[in-house]
Symmetry: C2
Subunit: 327 residues, 2 copies
């Protein structure tokens, strides 16, 4: 009645072979006859044997486990990326564990450390909040890939992000094509992705010859005031949550969307379908980004160089963007 978790030694004893052979058999390694292997497998199963991941890792030097660190769990955006990673990891026979950092760079860095303490084989950071320094530092301990735009870092860190320039361009062009000329940008933080979207907003406005000044601010009230004053008829928001807040504020202010105001978000989260009007948004291919991140990581594990991949976004048109009101 030993309540002990069975080990390969137990299996070996039951099968009348050495523990080494059990190890080989269970790992599908060559050098074990088919019949013996089958017998060992059956006995292991019978005993309820499960391999002890970390004992294995300790002995083998690899754990076949990768860590995923995400910004926070609240974000609908990050989770699809995680799914992409996990699907690819499953296919590659890797296990994943998650951790998250509550949107706080300090916590993120700490959790990244914890993850690496577990001696996972590598870490994928799904967050743009970690400084290049922190990433480079972590990369000294083990392979690191970041999903999310960063200012370019040490070439030891792999990265995947979407092309924010293209995304912003798609959004603004779409609004312009609907006849809007007074387009504002509801901007995000000062992180690289937001910066890029902001810069691309300006560039596109200029390229399309739309009349200056181009209103850019990070504050809903200012935008609403501008709409009321007739100085803005459409807004490109730097993400869906901001767009949702703007939508709420517009309805509160009696501004009809898309009648008086066209709105385009970014990230194509599930919010887009829950809000009314449904939100036009720029979609990042999140699953694909996750897959690519894992591919970069496995290459890194195989001794390859860290590379950066940039994927293309596309615009999903829904109800929040319509023709410009005739002036």
């Amino acid at each position: 009645m030993s309540s002990h978790r069975p080990t390969i030694v137990d299996v070996a004893a039951a099968a009348g072979v050495s523990k080494s052979l059990v190890s080989l058999a269970l790992r599908d390694a060559p050098g074990v006859s088919a019949t013996t292997r089958a017998r060992i497998m059956a006995i292991a199963d019978d005993l309820g044997y499960r391999s002890h991941t970390w004992a294995r890792a300790l002995a083998a030097g690899r754990s076949q486990v990768i860590g995923i660190l995400l910004n926070d769990l609240h974000s609908a955006y990050h989770t699809d990326i995680v799914e992409g990673i996990e699907r690819a990891a499953d296919a590659a026979g890797l296990t994943t564990v998650l951790s998250h950092g509550q949107r706080d760079p300090k916590v993120l860095a700490q959790r990244l450390g914890h993850l690496q303490d577990l001696s996972v084989d590598g870490v994928i950071v799904v967050s743009a909040l970690l400084s290049p320094d922190a990433l480079a530092h972590a990369a000294q301990r083990g392979p690191v890939v970041v999903v999310g735009r960063t200012t370019q870092v040490a070439d030891t860190v792999g990265a995947v992000w979407n092309n924010d320039e293209v995304g912003a361009h798609l959004a603004v062009e779409h609004l312009a094509r609907l006849g809007h000329t007074r387009i504002a940008h509801l901007a995000g933080s000062h992180r690289p992705a937001s910066q890029a979207r902001r810069a691309a907003f300006h560039a596109t406005m200029t390229a399309l010859d739309l009349p200056a000044p181009h209103l850019v601010c990070d504050d809903t009230d200012t935008v609403i005031a501008s709409v009321r004053a007739g100085a803005t008829t459409a807004v490109f928001a730097s993400n869906d949550t901001r767009a949702a807040r703007l939508l709420g504020a517009a309805l509160d202010a009696g501004i009809s969307v898309p009648g008086d105001l066209g709105v385009v978000g970014y990230d194509n989260t599930e919010l887009t379908e829950l809000l009314r009007p449904r939100l036009t948004s720029v979609d990042q291919p999140r699953h694909e980004m996750g897959q690519r991140a894992l591919a970069i990581l496995t290459d890194l594990l195989g001794g390859g160089p860290a590379r950066v991949e940039v994927v293309a976004p596309r615009l999903i048109v829904r109800d929040s963007s319509g023709p410009s009101p005739t002036p």
Copy 2:
């Protein structure tokens, strides 16, 4: 230029003491003089030593890591619970790792197995999708606490959930007090929590002497049709997402909320503030639930019995519920 991660042996060599002493010093164990301890600490720090969690776990038989399994990452509801758990875990000096099961009982069971393969000290399951059998089975391998209502299981599994009866009662009573008599229930799945809410809906309707029949269905269209027919003026939805869909459908159908239709959700997720009108909802004390789950788990680790705790929800009134339209 050994790129090797430093071990206690390296630290011991550098400090000119035995590895045992280093181990003691780093763990703050007694039997080390203050000066030696300080010296060892300094040297460890210097070398960038970090303890190898799983080697430690292997030797000590405990890892000080607990696993958290969640339903899926998309759910705004679960994430606060996780935060509650993690905050408590931090305070208790435990590390956490997450995993999730994509809303699929099969995947959940598999991930639960993976988590236990990592030989974490215990697992908290934040999902109501796992069968009592699966939970009991997992509990044989190690301590398990579930957050979310389950039909009562083996007394080896700890549990926390909110009092759905009280929650449903609060919602219906609120609507009744506003003058609604024709209240429908937009029901959830057949899981225990939904069942309980449904049953409590009926019980409350009866207790309040509201006229039968009490419409219960899980389909938005039917509810909308009933509102159109004048047979329903208010809806208690089994969760916020369902309520959000109903809100969308109502607006699509030209039904004004709360004018023609009062809506109350459940879970008080962030959706409640993003939607218009803002959603009245029943709040579960999610942080508290997470904390309690961890408390139960640590008691379990200490050899205590598994217990079940039920916490009280409360109603948060917002804009989606207003006085009944005069008939």
